[in-house]
């Protein structure tokens, strides 16, 4: 939350007609200016921003420092392009405008857009820079557009004359690479002064990133589609996990290569085995094991151990696969088989009971146990893979119960006959 008065120097020379920054250099610059004005006025309610043009008939102050964002933005419309940039007088006019700021407590800053060649020599610029420094003015330079004529060297000289206590910054934006305002928003001009990296800058950065992602199909300019300034912890976590993943993949790839070469030396008989190992490498089990054991796993003994482990796992996997195949068929037929088995045993019991006429103690015990429906169902429920509610099981139980009742009725009938 730096309390600041800022003068923004716009380059409106003929060089701004060039279209190497979409849509034109001038429009790109205007967008960037709007962005900076917004950031400055929102980082502190008492911040003021003024705008002047460097080219045209002469240096012209469009707005003296004001905190009224609308005033600043409206002055940007209908600007004429023409003439040559007059950097030296522009900076001095900006300095004057800043000197007469209302609130003396504001720190002073000039943001200089330089898109055309710099005519003044290095020495003049250094003198101006010293003057700025003497009057406690910080200078941010956005260098874009023309690159010839030692421009960047001159601007660097200007900056190094101004800079004190890391308060000034320069950003070189090469053409065609990215949108000017997007480059600026992640630059030190927005985030530079630590506390100067305001909430607005972050929000605007997020907004710009989202807009860029929407426009460019998710490129966004950030590594993970997340602005690292917005959420440093998240960015760090993402980066760390990315690195771990990369290390893991590298280790797995290295091991696979080792295995392949080893299997080749072992000869033709292990070719099938090699195929197994390769297959296992594709499965998720082995990479996890590799990650657990760490990267220095490459001595021969442990490599053999590893191979053995893999083979055994392959076997077990094969066994499991066979079992799984069995399970699949069983899954369909299980309850029927079970029902059949139950039925058979019960039929035996029933047959014995019927043949005996009178129930033997053992079979009567059995039938009593089986007749207790709640007990049977609880036993069935405790058996793995058996559903007591399965219709076939129920049928069996029901049929058994019917037999039991029939048998009881028969016995009763016999008893009544005896009595009668």
């Amino acid at each position: 939350m730096v309390l600041e008065a800022t003068m923004i120097c716009i380059d409106n020379s003929e060089w701004m007609r060039n279209g190497d920054y979409a849509p034109t250099r001038f429009q790109a610059q205007a967008d960037a200016v709007n962005l900076i004005c917004g950031a400055k006025t929102q980082s502190n309610p008492e911040n003021t921003v003024g705008v002047l043009t460097l080219a045209g008939k002469g240096v012209r102050v469009l707005v003296t420092p004001t905190s009224d964002l609308g005033k600043i933005l409206s002055c940007m419309h209908g600007l004429d392009i023409g003439g040559e940039m007059n950097l030296t007088s522009g900076v001095q006019v900006a300095q004057l405008a800043l000197k007469h700021r209302q609130n003396k407590h504001q720190r002073q800053r000039i943001v200089l857009f330089a898109g055309s060649p710099v005519a003044s020599d290095k020495k003049t610029l250094e003198t101006i820079g010293k003057k700025l420094r003497k009057t406690n003015i910080a200078l941010d330079i956005v260098s874009f557009g023309e690159e010839d004529d030692n421009k960047s060297e001159k601007l660097d000289a200007l900056l190094s004359a101004v800079i004190s206590n890391e308060n000034s910054h320069i950003v070189h934006v090469p053409p065609g690479q990215a949108i000017l305002s997007d480059v600026l928003i992640s630059s030190s001009i927005f985030t530079g002064d630590g506390e100067g990296g305001s909430g607005f800058a972050a929000a605007a950065a997020a907004g710009a990133a989202a807009a860029a992602a929407a426009a460019a199909g998710g490129a966004g300019g950030f590594e993970f589609g997340v602005d690292p300034n917005l959420d440093p912890e998240l960015a760090l976590a993402l980066r760390v996990s990315m690195e771990e993943e990369r290390a893991r993949q590298e280790a797995a790839a290295k091991r696979a290569a080792d295995e392949a070469s080893k299997n080749q030396t072992e000869g033709g008989e292990s070719s099938g085995q090699g195929g197994d190992v390769a297959m296992m490498d594709a499965s998720p089990v082995v990479p996890v094991a590799a990650a657990d054991k760490g990267p220095d796993f490459m001595d021969e003994e442990s490599a053999l151990l590893e191979q053995a482990l893999k083979m055994s796992m392959a076997e077990s996997a094969a066994a499991a696969a066979a079992q799984g195949a069995g399970d699949v068929t069983m899954g369909d037929g299980m309850s029927e088989d079970l029902a059949l088995a139950l039925q058979m045993s019960m039929q035996e019991a029933a047959a014995a009971a019927a043949a005996g006429g009178t129930t033997t103690p053992a079979s009567s015990d059995m039938s009593r146990v089986l007749g207790d429906q709640s007990f049977v169902s609880s036993v069935l429920a405790s058996l793995p893979g058996v559903d007591p509610n399965d219709p076939s099981v129920r049928d069996v139980l029901a049929s058994f119960q019917q037999e039991e009742e029939q048998r009881k009725n028969d016995a009763k009938g016999k008893d009544t006959e005896k009595q009668g």
């Binding site: 000197k99 007469h100 003396k104 407590h105 010293k130 003057k131 420094r133 003497k134 009057t135 406690n136 004190s164 206590n165 308060n167």
Partner: protein
């Protein structure tokens, strides 16, 4: 020194400085005017005001009421201490660019003896109705690149006016 001041009914005007408005140009960002003006800081010789790019310094000191200035007390190292000091009364928005545009209210040429904290008398008649004082340190004793100041105290008297900042609302409760 204090006795001299007391005898003439002059007081240290540190209480009258409007701190929010004080500005110093060409100061080093870690050795600011605070070190020479504020009570306590200014009595520590280790805390100094230093010039940054060249030997000049421009200190603008507004007051929260109208004052009369009597003298300045400046303490500085003998080598890098200020030599020519120009004082401007009631001039706002001074910069190094226009410092030569106005006639100074007073020009002091300091000797090394005066830099040890002796009061330097001003043209009293020129400073009878002062709302702000601009101190322009033009060069230093040895012509060095850096000018250093340890203490700058302003001695004078207040014109009997109402100090608006001391007005307090008197509540009923």
């Amino acid at each position: 020194m204090a006795a001299v001041v007391a005898a003439r009914h002059q007081i240290d005007l540190v209480e009258c400085i409007d701190w929010v408005g004080v500005e110093c140009l060409n100061e080093k960002s870690d050795r600011t005017f605070i070190n020479v003006l504020k009570q306590g800081y200014r009595d520590d010789n280790g805390l100094q005001l230093e010039s940054d790019t060249d030997e000049q310094l421009l200190i603008y000191i507004p007051f929260n009421q109208v004052v009369k200035l009597h003298s300045l007390i400046i303490r500085a190292p003998a080598e890098e201490g200020p030599k020519t000091v120009k004082l401007f009364a009631n001039r706002q928005n001074m910069g190094f660019g226009n410092v030569g545009d106005f006639p100074p209210s007073d020009v002091l040429t300091l000797t090394p003896e005066q830099l040890q904290g002796k009061p330097v008398l001003l043209k009293y008649v020129k400073f009878q109705h002062v709302r702000s004082l601009t101190v322009f340190i033009e060069d230093n004793q040895s012509g060095a690149e850096e000018t250093k100041v340890q203490k700058l105290a302003i001695v004078g008297s207040t014109v009997e006016t109402t100090n608006m900042s001391e007005l307090k609302k008197v509540g009923n409760s």
